[in-house]
Symmetry: C2
Subunit: 462 residues, 2 copies
């Protein structure tokens, strides 16, 4: 039996897929934080190069991948798709479980798929320095590497709690030549104002975004890069799903169930969007976004306009949100600790194309151990959400006696996150679930913001 | 231009290559530590299953890889061979540099190639528990994973200084379900006797081997496994070079220079032996074993009979050695901190098939940074010895204006070794070279041991 399905470099997709061409409901536009009017390209020009802004609003179905990006992709792409035969045996399930292995990149996750593209377009636009934020450090390290490839200076604001928990990711960034600072920091106005209110703040992605955006707009030749949430990021990540479609064809299978871990939404969308297109065109697939019960943006946050950051500098985005002032609990899946969700993913949930489900922390680490001992590779804590959901669906298939085909995104390895496993071994982790009153409190700040045309009653999705 | 040369699973070699069939000079046998006579299979039976002992003494050229081992290999094999185009550009060299990427295994190094085989043969023989030692932790983690696959208990004695420097590797072992103890420990007679003499002992591979062997021979259903040095390990690792030969053919190139980092010899031999066979058959190739200047077994140690461990429990092996009582300096390339060298590699050096060269520590980390910033992947400190040598040869080719083809073994990634990079960034590392008087002192202990037929004058190889 074949274990890995590997494309040749010649078979690597040469175009990204943009699901905005196929959305059942057109996306609502981002709004200017000052005027409340739809953002024009000129509003985004201080932080992004124009080529990325064009992708952000594009409704072209296919977007050519530049040659230099393709060339860098081949360092780790095409990424293998593997059949988790060891896991299937361990679970004794009739399900066939496939994982797309995005852990093979030098940074160990899917993040370089968009980091390469963003660094490339920035270099083309003459950008000398890029600022960004990072949670667990997967995005920051990916961007650091790609800036090194293209000779661009890189500055990363890393959420303080992760900075302290994950020194190895900081070291990766430094090895690739970037500068990394714990956020909130004293280097920006935003950081200083947060520290004034709470000197012990553990930081959050929302805060780090504020700092990185400020550092970009206040410095010449400096742009900002975001590793998730935005439309152009989802476009770049579509290469995951496009490859997976070819590989499933090689395997002679088609997935009944698609699974990805969802934090900001990019690894999930990357795998899901080409299959979501099939679903929009009539194919029956269950597409599951697995999010942490401790930060349940899709399952418990309403669909509203909200800021992407804490200090309200970014445009207002139409998305599922727990409120920009919400500081997620310090669980270990740092990459999933974000108050919002990609507008594309949010809209697909609203339209019933994607089904969100929350996973409890202890279940994710149990799943990670089961996976590591049967398949070898140790998943990152973020990735464990998808692994746990795949296991859950495989066991359901066993109960029902059905030969389900499950395809999940194995978004990254956990070799740099082993301290989280240690906490788990030591019994220091728990099944924290976000209290409703915290959500209600954070959402109060959104009362005076503009509302999207569509809204949802959160109880529908639970 | 193609970046990666990837074999299909169907093209993966189904037989290991045993260079003992082709050695210019027959190997000298291991000797019993008590009698000084050649070891028979029965002498090794308390610590190894008979199938591995048979491989240890086999002169069959080809050995079939069992189906179950092949199946597990497919988790990460065939391993990619890649053209280091980014590095070539950074060096502006006419050389074509290829690396065989053994960092793609779940443990991050080449070690699982033999760990799988050893776990498999042990399970076949009914072994319930395997003990072993580990330096940097690459071998211990690899064996832990493979024991998990085959339902065997695993106990690892980890050199104390690495145990403290590399907590993540211990956590990998625990994630895969193994037990890991810092060595010297109080759990064995050997450990206790070492601690009596030096309670602050940083440990060494030689000491950890003593502990692991003792724990195996004094417990029922328990065997011992060694991750390098022995002939059967070199046989299993030959899959690296066999794949690389097919991949170089795909690339339409043949290497002028073969390079591997050499500690115990297994990743070096794994890549080198199939090419060494070509050299024995008349092909001109420069085959370089890159070892640390701080532990210069091949370049400064004589070829003698010596123990594999500190407490003199193992058979005497004919090899280049710095003396079994030598405790290597605590440099960060923990996996290369071993007093001896694989007898096969030692013999190939004696016969002029392999050329050893020592690399200084600072040069290895500089090379690692150059590599990471041009190729993305961050090499392990051990692997940096091969990277540094490849860079040196590529620059020599540039000076000479020659289109040399260089093939090196990229034996593992450094994501779990980033603390070593941090020490480098902080200026805490230096170019320690082993003083001659330390070597002379350690070699004194060998005066009364039997001598091999062949000897060498160390000055020849410098």
């Amino acid at each position: 039996m074949v274990k890995k399905y590997i494309l040749s470099e010649q078979d690597m997709p040469r175009r990204w897929y943009n699901i905005m061409a196929d959305m059942p409901t057109p996306m609502e536009p981002p709004l200017h934080p000052g005027t409340g009017k739809a953002c024009g390209p000129e509003d985004l020009a201080p932080i992004f190069p124009m080529s990325l802004i064009e992708q952000e609003v594009s409704t072209e179905r296919w977007i050519d991948i530049p040659e230099e990006v393709l060339e860098k992709y081949t360092i780790w792409r095409p990424a293998p798709l593997f059949r988790a035969t060891g896991l299937e045996k361990a679970l004794d399930t009739p399900a066939r479980i496939y994982f797309k292995n995005e852990g093979v990149s030098p940074a160990g996750s899917h993040k370089p798929n968009t980091a390469i593209a963003q660094a490339y377009y920035n270099r083309l636009a003459g950008t000398k320095k890029i600022t960004t934020e990072t949670g667990a450090g997967q995005w920051g390290s990916a961007l650091s590497m790609c800036c090194a490839f293209f000779g661009i200076e890189c500055k990363v604001f890393m959420v303080k709690i992760s900075y302290n928990q994950k020194p190895y990711r900081r070291l990766m960034m430094e090895t690739w030549g970037a500068k990394c600072t714990a956020s909130p920091s004293t280097e920006t106005k935003a950081g200083r104002s947060i520290l004034e209110q709470d000197p012990e703040s553990p930081g959050s992605l929302g805060m780090a975004i504020s700092e990185a955006v400020e550092a970009a707009v206040t410095n010449p030749d400096t742009k900002y890069a975001l590793g998730s949430v935005l439309n152009h990021v989802m476009i770049h990540q579509s290469i995951i799903g496009l490859e997976a479609q070819k590989q499933m064809e090689m395997a002679g299978d088609y997935p009944d169930i698609i699974i990805g871990s969802a934090g900001g939404g990019s690894n999930f969308a990357g795998l899901a969007v080409p299959f979501a297109r099939d679903k929009i065109n009539g194919r029956e697939i269950d597409i599951i976004a697995a999010e942490p019960a401790s930060c349940p943006t899709l399952t418990r946050g309403p669909f509203l306009y909200d800021f992407g950051d804490t200090v309200q500098m970014t445009p207002l985005l139409p998305m599922h949100t727990l409120g920009h002032s919400y500081v997620p609990a310090p669980i270990h899946a740092g990459g999933l600790r974000y108050h919002g969700m990609a507008p594309i993913v949010s809209q697909l949930v609203l339209d019933g194309i994607v089904r969100p489900e929350a996973v409890k922390q202890m279940e994710t680490f149990e799943a990670g151990l089961t996976f590591a001992r049967s398949e070898g590779f140790i998943p990152a804590p973020e990735c464990n959400h998808a692994v746990a959901m795949a296991i859950k669906e495989a066991l359901k298939a066993k109960e029902e006696g059905k030969e389900k085909v499950i395809l999940a995104n194995w978004s990254g390895h956990g070799l740099v996150d082993l301290a989280a496993y240690e906490s788990y071994f030591q019994g220091k982790l728990s099944n924290y679930e976000l209290p409703q009153k915290e959500i209600d409190l954070a959402l109060k700040d959104l009362d005076n913001l503009p509302k999207p045309r569509q809204t949802n009653d959160r109880t529908d999705n639970q």
